[in-house]
Symmetry: C2
Subunit: 265 residues, 2 copies
Amino acid sequence: MMGPNCPGANVGAMTSEDFVPAQLRRLWGISEPARLGRPAALDVNLVVAAAVEIADRDGLGGVTLPKVAKSLGFTSMSLYRHVGSKDELLTLMADSALGPPPDMDTAGWREGLRSWAFAQRAVFQRRPWLTHVPTSGPPSGPNQIAWMEAALAIMSRTRLDWAHKVGVLSLISGYVVQSVRQHSELAEGRADGQGQADAERDYGRALVRLVDPERFPETARLFSSALFEAPPPGTPDATVADADFSLGLELILDGVTVRIEPGDS
Amino acid sequence: MMGPNCPGANVGAMTSEDFVPAQLRRLWGISEPARLGRPAALDVNLVVAAAVEIADRDGLGGVTLPKVAKSLGFTSMSLYRHVGSKDELLTLMADSALGPPPDMDTAGWREGLRSWAFAQRAVFQRRPWLTHVPTSGPPSGPNQIAWMEAALAIMSRTRLDWAHKVGVLSLISGYVVQSVRQHSELAEGRADGQGQADAERDYGRALVRLVDPERFPETARLFSSALFEAPPPGTPDATVADADFSLGLELILDGVTVRIEPGDS
DNA sequence: GAGAGAAAGTATCACAGATATACTAATGAG
DNA sequence: CTCATTAGTATATCTGTGATACTTTCTCTC
């Protein structure tokens, strides 16, 4: 799991008071520079930046230790000196690529949460691979925490208790992830081959033949409803996607309202 | 992508009227038995069943073509005769493992959707690997369609339009997936090593030292809130998880209520 | 009642990625 | 200067996907 030569792997050397797992130290960028021995030409941030660049270009699947190393002019094994394992690299990439949250309107909780959700969605849309990074633990990177802080700040004037705040936060952030992932996976699925319109038409045609109206009456009605007819040709995909996203988000916010109702804005 | 020897790979041989992609045919179990040549000892269902069994035991990561083949007493390559690619195998597994939806209370939409969500959650909890199968397209397997039908049936007495029905459905189902995945991934993360309590204590200790109250005031308050103190020792994990799940679900249902409000039950 | 030829299953192979182990190289403390 | 310490490398193993080119075992046709 963890390379035997990782700095900080020798945990016993530290006081239990100072103990912060090596992974967390790397996540927060607090590693002692190591004053002895050969100086490092490489460091965590370099490695992570290179990996992120590759992910941006080729998706998460394109990130392999050999490729990252080559893009830096080193061998694969050199990376283990800095990141412990590929899983850890992914975690580091996720926090780094997430970046800090933008300044946000905190006037009203509803507007605040809405803009938080849209901001996060924008980040994920720019880097869809982020939604595919397996969450290997509770949020612990500095940027993840910063986003969390932003959301909590938005809800701070609210009478919600901590459990509700955390619940709302994870509901919304889960929704954002889920919705971006959905879209990006569908887009990927039809990447090689035909265009979106063709793919949808084929899908529809095939399924209409498979979905027996006796067995699946509602679904059959859905497939023959206007929803699956071609949208007016001028409509950009993004507009449709935004509408879908807003629909769910506003629904959630309505739900939140019910909990906050009697209280302040 | 698709094995060169797949039955049905020779698409040109079919009328365009009959055209249903090979993958869909396998998904719906409608492949002509092939009256010529050597009869098959293996078939899609056998392969999929074996793969599901492995996934149940070892997780999705444990599913590899060699292992599946060996468990059936064949070689890896033989599977390509029946499933086209590993990705397709995953899709087939997902639909098969999902199974048909149980009979459900359709009296009131709210109770209906609630029990739909809990039913789906139960399936996912039983097979957490299901939440990790990449969705390679819109729902198209017979079981996926059946679950969709069930949800649409529940909403059929409602005044929601199709766009809203689909929106609500995907919101809820996304929530279920997200929430089960979250839990299973966290559980996995602490699988090797210490128990849950230890892990959480370590997490808390480490983060408390990293989360500067100046920079992250709300988060710091959260960490020192009662929420992170140990729950009464008798409480089973499942109870806590159920409460978390219900919190989000009821919130969503409240949101749905707002859309249905003036209408029927 | 061959034997053509189609489909099932197999044997090998090439390749790629993760990561352990054992090396060589550079550098500052003493 | 020299040696403990740390950085990066070389090499090798193990595992997984999937390509290519067989051999086997059927049925259908002549």
